[in-house]
């Protein structure tokens, strides 16, 4: 790990001022950042510790029925918050399918959005990586790339965003609240992460010094809670990143789909909202055939970036299956294996 200076500001304004200079990085739990510093992939000159900042660790119900989640809320606390898990069950399921219990106890909501790709070439300073070091090339293009992107990639970068949490969040129109040198602003999560294009080192819309302070969820999104699921396909049952994952939420009235929300994870450099799939489902009967058509639409622009053509078919099946799971209803108790394709009987629906 490189040598660095350490600052522990006591207010958001102080933190933003401290982190606005070159080479600074915010430190929350550090579960991703410290790992990258150990390999030498990240070498910040200053760590600005935000773990003590007041007001960032709250889960609040808003007057309009939505919820606001402070950036420092730990993954495990959010997933087990009764009000939150009831209103946004697919988000809770995604959180509990991610990482390990130890990491979920530490990792934060804001940090989850800020985590970097798990592309092995990004982690390895001896490899060429345009995302880590612009202009050096991409060793993943002709390397071990069976887990890499099938949507939105470029010749400069084929990495994926590894988050589970962000997948249902983007399906449910989460909003990111940002504090920075120029004041407060907000961005839809769907626009927060950037596709690589010719500049993969620019991973999100944050400017130097800007800090995520909270996420906001709407009351409308909570209205989909009765039919809301997350499905994560991985190479072992637990404690593995998604090869592909999918979130779905449905509102069904009079035998037809009134609202459909679909998003994919593990397929692109950002959590992928599948609006084409949602359009297919609008107003039709919720049948397996409709779900398969929606899955085809979701992946219609997919292209393998290497040895990963199988992920396109896998993602289609994940979309169709998560829609079937959502149709069957949100389980009353969190499945023993959250988001797993191997989950045993999930019991009675929560909001039948």
């Amino acid at each position: 790990m490189n040598q660095f200076d350490y600052a522990r500001p006591t207010s958001v304004a102080e933190a933003v001022a401290a982190a606005s200079g070159p080479g600074a990085a915010y430190l929350a739990a550090g579960t991703n950042l410290l790992d990258l510093m150990k390999t030498g992939a990240k070498r910040p000159g200053l760590l600005v510790d935000i773990t003590r900042l007041p007001g960032l660790d709250r889960i609040e119900t808003l007057p309009d029925g939505g919820m606001r989640i402070g950036a420092m809320v730990r993954n495990a606390d959010l997933a087990r918050d009764r009000a939150f898990a009831t209103a946004y069950p697919a988000v809770a399921e995604a959180l509990l399918s991610g990482a390990s219990p130890q990491l979920r106890n530490a990792a934060t909501a804001g940090g989850n959005l800020m985590q970097h790709t798990r592309c092995a070439y990004f982690f390895d300073p001896a490899s060429a990586c345009n995302r880590r070091e612009p202009g050096t090339g991409c060793d993943a293009l002709h390397g071990e790339n069976r887990g890499h992107a099938v949507l939105g990639w470029s010749q400069d970068c084929i990495a994926t965003h590894p988050s589970d949490f962000c997948v249902p969040l983007v399906a449910l129109d989460a909003v990111v609240e940002i504090e920075g040198p120029a004041g407060r602003r907000e961005a839809p999560l769907e626009e927060f992460h950037l596709l690589p294009g010719e500049n993969p080192s620019r991973e999100n819309v944050l400017q130097p010094g800007e800090l995520i302070v909270a996420l906001r969820m709407s009351a409308d999104a909570a209205g989909l809670r009765a039919n809301s699921r997350y499905l994560k396909l991985r190479e072992r049952t637990s404690f593995a990143f998604a090869l592909v994952s999918a979130a779905a939420a449905l509102k069904i009235e009079g035998g037809a789909i009134r609202t459909a929300r679909v998003a994919l994870g593990g397929v692109a450099a950002k959590p992928w909202r599948a609006r084409a799939a949602e359009a297919v489902l609008q107003g039709v009967a919720p049948t397996r055939e409709a779900f398969v058509r929606a899955a085809e639409a979701a992946l219609s622009e997919a292209m393998p970036s290497g040895d990963n053509a199988f992920k396109i078919e896998l993602a289609k099946r994940a979309v169709a299956r998560v829609l079937l799971l959502a149709l069957a209803g949100t389980p009353q108790r969190m499945p023993a294996l959250p988001a797993s394709a191997f989950s045993s009987d999930t019991g009675v629906p929560a909001h039948a």
Partner: protein
Amino acid sequence: MTLSISLTINGDLKSVLLDDPRVTLLDLLRERLDLTGTKKGCDRGQCGACTVLVDGRRINACLSLAISLDGAEVLTIEGLAEGERLHPVQAAFIAHDGFQCGFCTPGQIMSALGLLGEGEADDPERIREGMSGNLCRCGAYAGITEAVLDAHKRVAEEAAEHRRVA
């Protein structure tokens, strides 16, 4: 730069001077405080050998900067037994052969303790999922699952007994 922090470790309040902010909680425990029960396996948050409780929650000590934990309460494997009397989770691991070589065991036991506190250790499938952050290269998983299930019962019985007496 020298940085001073205080930590309560296994019940003892300690003042710690850090000459380097890079020290992880794991290295602080092992290299500077002589608490070598907490093991360094992967040092990357993947194996769980370094699991300790911080403010009652299990975390990976290898991915936590000591400087950032100023004021925290840390519980390590050394803090579990009372003299010769083993903690019920320790006793359950012995009773059910929840280990072979023993290297991962302190992390497994601290993780199990954290899991019991989280209240999701009531069936084998939930225990396996709840212990998925701890690898055992000897493959003692079957014994570990039984040990955690048994510890869950023992702790629940002790709590019931305590309520009856109180």
